[in-house]
Structure formats: C-alpha cells, structure tokens
Symmetry: C2
Subunit: 273 residues, 2 copies
C-alpha cells in the first residue's frame, strides 16, 4: 500500500485506528474453542465487526507462533481474510544480519502479503534494509517503545546529547523515506512523541499503548499529529476483548466505533476531513 492510499483510507473511514489482533486462546470467548481453528474464527468475527472503523490491523506474531505450525496457519488465514484496502502490520520485531533479514522479509511480504513489518534497530543498517527492497511494503522501526524497559537503552544519551531513539530515527532516515518507513512511538511517553515528531516531521508513527497500557488519544494527537495525520493509533485488548460471550463481535464493534468517533472529531477539528 502506498502512503497516498493510506491517507485516503484515513479520510474515507474518518479514522486512524489500528486494531491489534493479539489473539490469546485463554482470553477469547469459550464457545469458540470448539471450532476447528478458534484463533482464525475469533479474528474473522473481529474483522467483520471492526473493519468499517479501522484503517489497519496488527497481529502480534508471538500470539500465533506459540501454537507452532497451527498458529502460522491461523495467521495466514487471517492476513488473507483482511480486506485489501486495510493496511496490515506484522508486529514481529524481527532483525538479523542482512542475508537472514531477507528471509524474514520474504516471510511477511511474500509468503504472507503484509503491507509492513515491525523491525528492531539494534543490529543496524543491513538488518533493516532487506525489508525495504519490496515495492509498496513498509518497515515500521522501533524507536521509542511504550514499555518500562524503553528507559534502559532507548533513552541513553550519547556524548553529543543525543538519545539512542533519536539516533535511530536520524540514522534510519537515510535508509528510506517516509513513503517506506514508519516509527513505533509509544503512547505512554506523550512528550517523547513530540520529540520524535520534531525530528521526523513527515513520517507516520505507529502508536501502541493507548488504553490498557495507559496512553491517551488526546496526548498522542497533541504531540504526534502532522499535516498528513501521520498517526496510526493501536488498540488491542480494549477492542478485541471488549466482550467475552457470543456477542463479542458487537462489543468489539462498539469499542472500535467509540475510538473511531473520537478520531473523527479530531480529524474534523484538524480540518483533515
């Protein structure tokens, strides 16, 4: 998907919501456990219920690969089921030496037809660039994450006063433009979002941490907005586990629509739509 197509989708849906498909057998409604593929059945109903309110889906790969080959089949069926106008993110946080990263890229861009994959920057340029060689596919590079451990290394200040997450953004911006590269910027560090926006004015940010992790949509928008919207705000548990019985689809739809309505207000106030 191109950047222009993503922006158009945001305008059409009046939403910049990403739904995180962190599908956990221990948390899905019990009646689904009798299905042949409970994970896919859950995802299918969640997608049916939420697809009008979101512009992206983000399965976190950990929740699928813990079931081995069966989990990979559930993931493949899920990505094949998502409508093509919706941006898809393989939240995989991969990264290896160049030759090996190219196999990870093939996994998510060829074997599965994801639009993007999250990548960890620690191993540097040749661990990231193999993902950038696919047309209209994206790297979403970890910059400033939403978890407690982000403080351990990402905030380390170098001799010039630059923090590691800033160096990651500045360095990686020479590897690809904002038509191929986004950054993960956690909602739990709202001032951090502003600092990232200052050095990456044109890139889209994938923002996890709204809802269950404590970040607020208002703060994210205040600090992260750019004139192309520039934000994909993810919610996982708050949407997909909004209900826990046979009506879980309706509950997820309502939770997604609530966020979509808030986003519509913001997009309207910003005169983006």
């Amino acid at each position: 998907m191109t950047k222009e197509q993503l922006i158009q989708e945001i305008k059409t849906k009046r939403s910049f919501l990403c739904v995180g498909l962190d599908t956990d057998l221990a948390k899905i409604p019990k009646h689904l456990l009798d299905c042949e593929d409970p994970i896919f059945e859950f995802n299918k109903q969640i997608i049916d219920a939420t697809k009008d309110f979101c512009v992206a889906y983000k399965p976190n790969i950990a929740f699928y690969e813990c079931h081995g080959s069966k989990g990979w089949d559930s993931l493949k069926k899920t990505i094949d089921y998502i409508p093509k106008n919706i941006f898809t993110i393989a939240d995989a946080k991969r990264g290896d030496i160049g030759n090996t990263s190219s196999y990870y890229a093939k996994t998510f861009f060829e074997y599965m037809d994801f639009d993007s994959v999250t990548v960890a920057p620690y191993m540097g340029v040749d661990s990231v660039t193999p993902f950038l060689e696919f047309e209209d596919k994206w790297v979403i590079l970890l910059a400033l994450t939403s978890n407690k451990g982000a403080l351990d290394f990402q905030m380390t200040t170098d001799a010039k006063g630059e923090r590691l997450f800033e160096k990651v953004i500045k360095t990686s911006s020479s590897w690809a433009g904002d038509d191929k590269l986004m950054y993960v910027v956690g909602a739990t560090r709202s001032e951090g979002i502003g600092e990232v926006r200052a050095i990456a004015p044109n890139h889209f940010f994938l923002v996890p941490g709204v809802g269950a992790q404590g970040g607020s949509l208002e703060d994210v928008t205040q600090y992260g907005w750019n004139e192309q919207c520039g934000l994909l705000v993810n919610s996982s548990r708050g949407i997909i586990y909004a209900g826990n019985d046979e009506n879980f689809g309706n509950a997820a739809a309502n939770a997604a629509q609530d966020l979509q309505k808030q986003m519509e207000s913001i997009l309207t106030a910003k005169k983006f739509i």
Copy 2:
C-alpha cells in the same frame, strides 16, 4: 541444560563448536528436494554427520518461517531429533513488551524444547526477563554482532564514554547470572570480544562470524577465552554446505571435524582437557 552440563559436554566432545542450521532450499543438494520434508531430511543427515563434533546446534528461525507452517513443522522435527546432550539455540532475535515476550518464550521453551533463544535488547528489561523465568533455559542476548550494521548503534558512546554494547552487558547482568545468560559477540570484531570479556568475565559467548563472515578461531580464542572455556563458536555455511551432492553428510562431517580438531588443540593447550 545447566552450565555444568554444557562444560562437561565441551570436555567430552573436546569441542566448543556450534553448528548453524541455516537450511536454505536453494542451497541443499538437489536430490533432497523430492523428499516429503527436504529441510528436515537435510538437517537429519547433517545432525547424524556432525553430532560427535559439536556441542550445540543453532537453527536460525528465519530460514524456517519463510516456509510458513511447513517450515515450523520442519523446525519442530529438527529440535525433536537433536540428541538431548547437545545444547540447542533458537536463533530468533525476538523481544517485545513483557506480556508478549512471554509468548515467545513459551514458543521456544515449551512448544519447542530449545535450551536457549537469542533475544534483542533494544526494548530493555521487561522484553528480556520473561525468557529468564524458565528453569535451565537460557537467554543469549545480542551484545556486539558480527555484521556491518553493528557500527550504527552498538558502538555509540554515551556521555560517560560507555558504548551501547557495554551498557547492554552491564545492565543485563543484573537481570540474571552467567548460569542463565550468554551474549552474542561477533567473531569479526576480535578486539571487541576482548572488551566484552573484560566486563563479562564469567559468561559464555555465542560467537558467530567464524568462516564465511571472516572471523578467525585463533582470534576468538585469544580474546574470548575464560577459565571455563566460555565460548560457543558457530559455523553454518562452512559446514552444512561443505558438500552439495549425495555425500554432503560426509563433507559436513569432515568440515565439522576439522574445526573440532582445531578446538581440541586449543583446549589441550589451555589445559582445559
């Protein structure tokens, strides 16, 4: 596997060789492609041929997951086939927020019975510690990698003159001891190995980059040796693709034995055996 068991295995085999199972359908002998599961068939024969010369096997997960669920089945069969006295490393370079990392840990330590998994440190403490909660299982944390991109961030010096890889080692050493934690230290930076050894005197290092990537066994041993050996030196392509016809097993055995003999000389010279 415990550290004592690993050290005993090094003494018994007179080797600290790790064989990297980076099994690529484009590179394995053509006659195997008619098998039902060519990747497992190749691995099986490589394991049969090399198991007396090595103390560890390290499948890089990228080479398996690019085949989707079939690749995961090949990987599962491979880990089940490796003799239990041999240390197994899931070279996965995973890492995510705590809840999610615990699913990755379950994947490699429960669904598959690996002894260890490689983990990327960028997301900090809560991305690593879920892997440390499994008895006799290990985290092998990326510290100083063998690739060109290692220069981008790992060598960044902070205001106190400490480089990021040093900070990773010092910080992580409070998360677990050398009975649960190893570091990846690339053979292509032999002086770097010495610097890591100075700050992590007791930890085992997994050392990739000997052979095809240009590192030498002599340099690795000169800089990385400690009194418990403290080294697992990986070779992938140089062993598993030593031959490319029906005798590929013999060729792999010879290549592995060559390295084992060199290691035996070192272990003898060091009076370790």
